[in-house]
């Protein structure tokens, strides 16, 4: 059974704009799925349905067999969301306080909160910055802090919305390294981006969206040649007819 099961999902914004149009897909546990598409194609709208930030007008989203609508808290615990703008995701006055925000919302005992914060900061390599103010962090560190904040809630799925936006080369590599570490630890990753270059090498599956619909879905090698006709720039390597290469190599 797929860990994410979406069935004929439809969503329209209050102003009438079509967000999602009959989306049906299943995502297997432990995979790294990349959702690509131009701006306004519905990538973020789809991600926001995974943990109930948006509710479908029709259709269902199931996380590990249970519909999101029937247990929002469970969905939000199981699906961690890393937003594009890391600054507006940071709630705490220190790095450690920010990571503690999620576990505190789960009403966990203070000792358990502390243990989770320590473990999450250790995983993303921010332990030495625990008492720093988040505003003092670099772009890559802020993104890693967002990841730690989500990890402390022990999610099974981590959804990334444009994870490389605004990051320099070292920042991109830091975030990419964390993403792969999460996948190796058994998490399912769903990454929405229009920047295919940085992630294609590691993707297990590519989903191409346009105008709120899934227009292509399959292994990256079979789809990457067609993305430009849908307003997404193909990676340089595929334009040059070369093999994809990891940004970490």
């Amino acid at each position: 059974m797929p860990i994410i099961d979406i069935d004929t999902l439809c969503f329209r914004y209050p102003d009438g704009t079509l967000g999602l149009d009959r989306i049906s897909l299943g995502i297997e546990k432990g995979t790294l799925v990349v959702i690509i598409g131009p701006n306004g194609s519905g990538k973020t709208t789809l991600l926001k349905h995974l943990n109930g930030l948006l509710r479908p007008q029709s259709g269902t989203v199931r996380i590990d067999g249970v519909t999101v609508a029937s247990d929002l808290r469970r969905a939000r615990r199981l699906v961690g969301m890393i937003f594009q703008d890391a600054d507006s995701q940071i709630v705490g006055e220190t790095v450690a306080a920010d990571v503690a925000f999620g576990p505190e919302n789960l009403s966990l005992p203070a000792a358990e909160v502390g243990a989770r914060v320590e473990a999450a900061l250790d995983t993303v390599g921010l332990t030495t910055l625990a008492d720093q103010t988040p505003q003092a962090l670099s772009g890559g560190e802020k993104r890693r802090l967002s990841i730690a904040g989500v990890l402390a809630m022990h999610p099974q799925i981590v959804a990334f919305d444009e994870p490389f936006a605004g990051l320099d080369y070292p920042g991109t590599r830091q975030v990419l390294r964390e993403m792969l570490r999460l996948q190796q630890a058994g998490h399912t990753l769903v990454v929405a981006t229009h920047d295919l270059e940085k992630i294609i090498y590691h993707a297990d599956r590519l989903i191409l969206m346009n105008d709120g619909r899934v227009v292509k879905d399959g292994p990256p090698a079979g789809i990457v040649g067609e993305v430009e006709s849908f307003g997404v720039r193909a990676p340089c390597v595929s334009r040059l007819g070369l093999e994809a290469e990891s940004w970490l190599s």
Partner: protein, 222 residues
């Protein structure tokens, strides 16, 4: 307590309190220059208060400057008032520099909890968010101003036009940020029934509280 005491103190106790707070600021590593820069607008206000008191308090005119309508008593009263106000704000700075927002929030929740009908938890959270948001608001205001300056807004003399140019994008950005912030909190299961930061009082805190209470008692006696 300290602030209330400072507002009623005479010069000698004020001097004692100033000395203690200066030592505390030094131990905290706060630079006088940085503090004065932060408080520059407040210092301007203090200057105005001093001038107003000096000109409006009746008393003996200054012998060297008989043409100036300033009284010696007015200058003394103005100086003491300004000193008290500065000390109050300085105490506030010391408090903020030594206390985490989470501790302030925990204290507010603890203090408000016995009052029926007051949503202590919500008020505490709101306070924490306000403290968290203030630097962001300044950052956004700075970024909007820079963008306007880069497009020559300073050459427009009409202040209402400039204010409108600034306010619309600034508020729009601010509301968008608030929306994103709310969404991020929701995504991390935000609820009012949550594990609160523990309100801690270590032995050192009790010692300091006793010391300060004793000192205040002495100052009132003086």
């Amino acid at each position: 307590m300290l602030m209330l005491t400072a507002m009623n103190c005479e010069p000698l106790p004020l001097a004692v309190m100033s000395l203690i707070s200066a030592v505390a600021a030094r131990r905290l590593g706060l630079s006088l220059r940085g503090i004065l820069t932060e408080l520059r607008y407040f210092l301007l206000l203090l200057g105005l208060i001093f001038t107003a008191r000096a000109f409006t308090t009746p008393g003996t005119p200054l012998p060297d400057l008989p043409w100036l309508q300033v009284s010696r008593e007015g200058m003394q009263a103005g100086a003491v008032t300004v000193w008290r106000l500065f000390l109050v704000v300085f105490f506030g700075l010391l408090f903020v520099a030594t206390t985490r927002a989470a501790a302030i929030k925990a204290a507010v929740v603890w203090f408000l909890r016995p009052f029926p009908g007051l949503p202590a938890q919500r008020i505490g959270t709101m306070l924490g968010l306000v403290l968290r948001f203030i630097p962001l608001v300044f950052l956004q205001a700075g970024a909007t101003l820079d963008a306007q300056r880069a497009r020559g807004v300073e050459s427009r003399r009409n202040p209402f036009y400039r204010l409108t140019c600034f306010a619309i994008p600034f508020l729009r950005r601010l509301f968008l940020s608030a929306d994103r912030f709310t969404e991020a909190m929701e995504a991390r299961c935000y609820t009012e029934i949550r594990t609160d930061p523990v309100l801690l009082a270590r032995p050192r805190d009790w010692w300091i509280l006793s010391g300060v209470t004793g000192a205040i008692g002495l100052l009132w006696l003086m």
